[in-house]
């Protein structure tokens, strides 16, 4: 049996970019449910501080994260040297999704990984294997 994904909630405390009613409703639903979850005040602030706690949040296997855009969340963790597991992380975007959509996805046993993957531009010289640079 596979273990169900963990839940991580970001409160986006230091900005008003996530609608207050959405983040409150999502947190309320989490608190009303019986599920265990991790909540952080502001992933951006933790990333800026290279908070070692991000490593624990990224390392515990499959995870669903209620925060904002998947591209932003992916690189915030990366910037703090705590990359998320690409195949095992699903980001719910409270900036654009409704509280119901976010909560339903959080509580569903199914994981739908949605971090962007792969190079979108030409690899730079530092990213290419030396043999290809020379070619």
């Amino acid at each position: 049996m596979t273990t169900p994904p963990r839940i991580l909630y970001c409160n986006c405390t230091y900005a008003q970019v996530v609608p207050k009613e959405v983040k409150e409703a999502v947190l309320k639903k989490l608190c009303e449910s019986g599920v265990a979850f991790d909540a952080v005040a502001d992933l951006c602030e933790m990333s800026a501080r290279l908070d070692p706690a991000l490593k624990r949040l990224a390392d515990g296997g499959a995870v669903k994260i209620a925060a904002c855009y998947p591209r932003a969340v992916k690189w915030l963790f990366h910037a703090a040297k705590a990359p998320l597991p690409i195949e095992a992380a699903e980001i719910l975007n409270m900036r654009v999704q409704s509280a119901d959509e976010v909560a339903n996805a959080l509580f569903s046993a199914e994981l739908q990984p949605n971090l962007p993957t792969g190079k979108a531009t030409k690899p730079s010289a530092v990213e290419l294997p030396k043999s290809e640079v020379a070619a």
């Binding site: 991790d38 800026a48 908070d51 591209r71 690189w75």
Partner: protein, 289 residues
């Protein structure tokens, strides 16, 4: 205190054996109060998993039976583990207890700085060094592999997304920005086209601002010398900056706080030289490979 390498105190809301569960409403209020103060809170229950333990200090809150918090410690001695009974505590009192332990354990203090800083999307970045040569505040640097990196994120000017506009690949995000793709939204072809047509903010910050200001203030001086009204001169300067700011979406406070034109020129040269050194090293690496 430098921003880096500080960990957040982990607060655990314990409602299992030996403790009474909180009402859902109390749980929500407690969570919200602690999150608004910057803490990380883990709610443990027998349904579902949470992030594993690490060496972070742990404060376990609970309505423990008989109002007595257990006296426990981490057998390995690596984790600073504390328990706090919160029977009859309201959320403010809980927050006070948590803050006291935060101060004792030297965990990160929150709220002194608005987390506004660039985040690089390396799926898009081509390591062209435009951001490094543009930023006057030393936010960017390179790692050992000569790869661009955000190194001094607390030098970044709050609410200023200017460097994201010089990036030709829309690879620089400010997650707390209002609009896409700078906020992390998917980058569309239209976004890239728009980026190509952007105004040359670099030139704007590098000199034109001051040229315009000087010109304006000369004119203003002759007028204001008659009026003897220094406040008006200031207003004029502000008006001019606000106009420029709206062209590049740069907050007027950022423009107002820019150093002298000479200092700007010096920093711009320095940043450009740094970028050129990196690009030359990259090329050398490519040709010797």
């Amino acid at each position: 205190m430098p921003l880096k390498e500080q960990t957040t105190l982990r607060v655990v809301l314990y409602e299992g054996d030996g403790a009474q569960p909180l009402e859902a409403g109390d749980r929500f209020t407690t969570m919200t109060t602690l999150l608004e103060k910057g803490f990380a809170v883990t709610r443990v229950s027998d349904k579902g998993r949470v992030a594993p333990a690490d060496r972070t200090s742990l404060l376990v809150l609970g309505r423990f039976n008989d109002g007595r918090a257990p006296l426990g410690e981490d057998a390995s001695g690596l984790v600073n583990l504390r328990f706090q009974d919160i029977t009859d505590f309201d959320s403010n009192r809980i927050a006070e207890a948590v803050e006291t332990l935060r101060a004792e354990t030297n965990a990160a203090k929150h709220g002194d700085w608005k987390p506004w800083f660039p985040v690089i999307d390396y799926d898009r970045c081509t390591n062209c060094m435009q951001c490094l040569s543009f930023c006057l505040f030393g936010v960017y640097g390179v790692d050992e592999q000569q790869r661009i990196q955000v190194q001094n994120n607390d030098n970044c000017k709050t609410n200023c997304p200017a460097c994201s506009r010089v990036c030709p690949e829309a690879a620089i995000m400010f997650p707390k920005y209002k609009a896409g793709p700078i906020n992390g939204d998917v980058v569309s072809d239209a976004d890239l086209q728009r980026e190509k047509m952007k105004i040359d903010i670099s030139a704007l910050l590098g000199g034109d601002v001051y040229a315009m200001l000087r010109e304006r203030s000369e004119k203003a001086k002759s007028r204001f010398s008659k009026e003897r009204d220094a406040d008006k001169a200031l207003q004029e300067r502000q008006k001019c900056l606000v106009k420029l700011a709206s062209a590049g979406d740069i907050p007027p406070e950022v423009l107002m706080s820019l150093p002298s034109p000479e200092e700007i020129a010096r920093r711009a040269e320095e940043a450009k030289a740094k970028a050129q050194t990196v690009l030359a090293a990259q090329q050398r690496g490519a040709s010797t490979a």
